[in-house]
């Protein structure tokens, strides 16, 4: 029987906290950037111009239909050679994860916008609004309400996806725990603690999301 000894991890606490800080900070950045990309992607697919729609769709499908691990490696190793720019592992992984997240966000945002009854934008148009005004004043405020649960879920997935940046030696929670595991020869304790740390952050968040969903459903 294996003798658990979690006490040994205490001496690595600053390493873990550091890693956790990077993970959380990284998530915030890629969620915000991802939402920006997602917004562009969504409006792109809803554009009146076919060329814009095609570009947006190509972007979305390229990132949705390739594995995020492959994208991370490609952005770090292949893109600098092709584009002739040097990227730090952090820049490369932030870009890859934001674009990957953005492709899913844009589908959520697009779905939210087209779920709003066409009569709403017609009523806006009949009042004399331009398409932009009716999008901002009438459609988006209603659509955002419907998108929030799905956006939150996708953001939770994004939080977990940040664990992959350890392959590019970005010092996130997983990377730091690898260091700790190698140093302490206690991988079981280390990775168990890491799993608990992710769950401890995400479980309260999912409960919040579920509550939010219920509240929004009542408002319908």
């Amino acid at each position: 029987m294996y003798q658990w000894d979690f006490g040994i991890l205490w001496s690595y606490r600053w390493l873990f906290l550091n890693g956790l800080g990077v993970t959380v900070g990284f998530t915030v950045v890629i969620v915000i950037l991802g939402l920006v990309f997602g917004l562009f992607g969504a409006f792109g697919t809803l554009s009146r111009f076919k060329a814009v729609r095609m570009i947006a769709l190509t972007f979305i499908e390229a990132f949705r239909c390739t594995p995020i691990l492959v994208q991370l490696i490609w952005f770090y190793y292949a893109l600098p050679i092709l584009a002739g720019i040097d990227m730090t592992p952090i820049t490369a992984s932030a870009l890859a994860l934001s674009l990957y997240g953005g492709s899913f966000y844009s589908e959520i945002i697009r779905g939210g916008i087209i779920s709003i009854d066409k009569g709403q934008s017609e009523a806006g148009a009949a009042l004399g609004m331009t398409p932009g005004q009716s999008m901002r004043r009438i459609v988006l405020p209603q659509a955002i309400k419907r998108m929030i649960p799905a956006l939150m879920n996708q953001s939770i997935i994004q939080f977990k996806n940040t664990s992959l940046v350890s392959v590019l030696a970005v010092p996130d929670l997983v990377y730091q725990s690898q260091v700790a595991a190698h140093d302490s020869y206690r991988p079981l304790e280390t990775y168990t603690a890491v799993a608990v740390a992710y769950a401890a952050i995400l479980i309260p968040l999912t409960i919040l999301v579920r509550r939010g969903e219920k509240r929004l459903a009542v408002g319908e």
Binding site: G119, L127, T130
Partner: protein
């Protein structure tokens, strides 16, 4: 008539795919005139109404409302979004399914056009909106959300919302078709009040008795063409075309305005 007409439609054509919905329709509405459009579903009457404020862009022909006119078809350029928006601001439209903005209170619904489109100051817009709500008998519902209103109240708010733009012309697209029978009267009363104030209106309706009371002209459409047109009472009481007679036989042709419960 065309010198004084407020709305002038000439040889209007519209197809959706291979389905020709409007086949060269012409129509005049005098200033202060009330025209009722009737006909079976699929006759093109709603499409015609939506062509008047260009919610549906015609394939050919011309549309004039007041001093603004547009030509469509060979060689004519489609109007841009800004031009269209400016044009639509001068016409009010009321929809079958109300299309109130559910995320805004009744007052905000009515203020939305003046504030966003006419760039009116909030305080002025609120005063205007409250006056319009009072006019349709719903002053006390100003702070409620549409979801809490009955169908008839929703439609009256929708009318107030359209009126807040102070339009030259009002278009009604089956404004009472989605209402429970007992709520139809309160909406028809508001429309009738507008008619008596001299508002130019085009009304797509299935309320034949109401059309007979309120409209001065009546147009019967079928399969994208005007089958019969004339003074409302004359067409309803004494239709000349067989198709008109067949359609009208589905309705009780006598009787007055349906009883109204509340418009206060």
């Amino acid at each position: 008539m065309s010198e004084t007409s407020k709305i002038e439609i000439r040889s209007l054509r519209k197809s959706f795919g291979s389905n020709e919905v409007l086949k060269s329709i012409s129509l005049d509405v005098a200033k202060g005139g009330v025209v009722a459009l009737i006909g079976p579903s699929g006759s093109g009457k709603s499409t015609l109404l939506r062509c008047i404020n260009l919610l549906v862009v015609p394939d050919g022909g011309s549309v004039r409302v007041g001093d603004t006119s547009f030509a469509f078809g060979d060689g004519s350029k489609l109007p841009g979004v800004k031009t269209l928006a400016k044009f639509r601001a001068t016409t009010g439209m009321v929809f079958q399914h109300f299309n109130l903005f559910p995320h805004m209170t009744t007052l905000q619904n009515v203020m939305e056009g003046p504030v966003t489109v006419r760039r009116m100051a909030k305080a002025d817009a609120e005063k205007l909106a409250r006056a319009q709500l009072a006019k349709v008998g719903l002053a006390e519902k100003a702070d409620q959300y549409p979801a809490t209103l009955s169908g008839g109240q929703k439609q009256r708010v929708a009318i107030a919302r359209a009126l807040a733009m102070e339009p030259d012309v009002m278009l009604f697209d089956e404004a009472t078709s989605a209402l429970d029978p007992e709520l139809v009267g309160e909406v028809l009363n508001v429309i009738q009040q507008l008619a008596s104030e001299g508002m130019t209106m085009v009304i797509v309706t299935h309320e034949i008795t109401f059309a007979r009371e309120v409209a001065d002209r009546l147009i019967f459409m079928r399969d994208g063409v005007v089958v019969e047109e004339g003074p409302a009472r004359q067409v309803i009481d004494n239709p000349q075309e067989a198709a008109t007679r067949a359609f009208l036989s589905h309705f009780h042709r006598t009787g007055a305005l349906p009883p109204a419960n509340v418009v206060s």
